[in-house]
Symmetry: C2
Subunit: 240 residues, 2 copies
């Protein structure tokens, strides 16, 4: 029996909705905490001192997962990394244009073109996959196929935000074209697909789930240590 | 010569304005990071294991300082403290009603009446002073005189958010009726009055100042260690 609760896609969507409606959080607040927790987890799993390059490529998709990536990039810069963002399909909403402006004001460059996998391996220490999150359903849209191919090819560690891009949120890499990242940061609670994650580092972040909401969905999670914004989880693959 | 930059009131107000206008942050974002940093600093200075009671009284004023207090209370609850909020003059704006709802959803009670100082000392381990911030100018308004009196009388440690309430932001406790807290968490950068802070713990929090903005105001601050959201500062009183 799992001592950790894994959310179905429907549960993930409903918990998210309730955080904003019933629990009155703003997207700004939770995205800030989520992105901060991803950056913190990356700093734990891949400390600058252990990397050949402190450059981090942050690949952002058009939705909230991409927003988490933009926040993560800003905090990575504060932690001493040198993030560069690739954000090919920008969202026009004010929250997103503001997140971009905040990155720019923090001196974070935006890549105009998708770098080739070999160039990524040559220049970067870590890649953040903030393409698709818990609302994704395969197949990957045409315009993202090239990016997915690049991300599948890189050899430097890839850290996926919440869900490895391309995966079915419950069943994993059913289409066979998903990423197989070295690191996964599950946000709020792991999704069912995380049971098939076989990378090196699995973290939980997004420390903002109110106890009442956790109870309503029978969400059991390991306690965060002290004031930490993330907690390492055992890699569950094979233990189902 | 100070190696830390202390802001005048005008500088503090202008830096704050620029964060929202030029740097495109939302109040939600920065208040979240500010409140988180205050809660984190309290957990460092007054860890639960060292307290006779994990109950924390959080006294919130009507402005942004009170909002920081509400966020701080929520994170303190996540860290295992038992906060209770006293918030006598509530702000009607949605941000604030939402912050209250988030606290309530996290099981944080709101005190209907101001507790007497003796009762505070009997029941609480720490008190958070989130009454007035960097836009305050003495004298204290009539309706807050009783609360200030109570806060001056308690013997448990008081932690002031950004500015000890009642102090002139630049010159300190000029009116003679300000608080003299055990702990001060300066947000973004210390204000001039912090040079006269003579309590035990001085922390810096609000890790969100973009480098370009820091440079514009010649703001020199000690580096935050690793992924920490706060950093301890030397207590400067007497060293002017």
């Amino acid at each position: 029996m799992d001592s950790i609760k894994y959310l179905s896609q429907e549960e993930a969507i409903n918990v998210d909705k309730k955080l904003f409606s019933e629990y009155k959080f703003s997207v700004d607040q939770l995205m800030e905490l989520a992105g901060l927790s991803v950056a913190t987890a990356i700093a734990k799993a891949y400390p600058i001192a252990h990397l050949t390059s402190r450059d981090v490529l942050v690949v952002c998709g058009p939705g909230n997962n991409g927003g988490d990536g933009l926040v993560c990039a800003r905090h990575l810069a504060a932690f001493g990394y040198r993030p560069r963002v690739f954000y090919p399909r920008r969202t026009k909403r004010e929250l997103y244009t503001n997140l971009v402006a905040q990155c720019e004001a923090s001196g974070i460059p935006f890549a105009a073109e998708m770098p080739a996998a070999a160039d990524v391996d040559a220049a970067y220490g870590v890649v953040v996959d903030a393409l698709f999150g818990f609302s994704f359903a395969p197949p990957v849209r045409e315009e993202f196929v090239g990016i997915m191919e690049m991300l599948r090819s890189v050899e430097v560690p890839v850290c996926s935000v919440d869900v490895p891009s391309g995966w079915d949120v419950e069943r994993g890499d059913t289409a066979g074209d998903g990423l197989h990242p070295s690191m996964l940061v599950s946000l709020t609670a792991p999704k069912l697909c995380a049971r098939g994650f076989a990378g090196r580092h699995h973290y939980l972040g997004g420390r903002f789930l109110p106890r009442r909401l956790a109870a309503e969905y029978d969400i059991v999670l390991p306690p965060y240590p002290g004031t930490e914004q993330c907690v390492e989880l055992p890699v569950a693959a094979g233990k189902q």
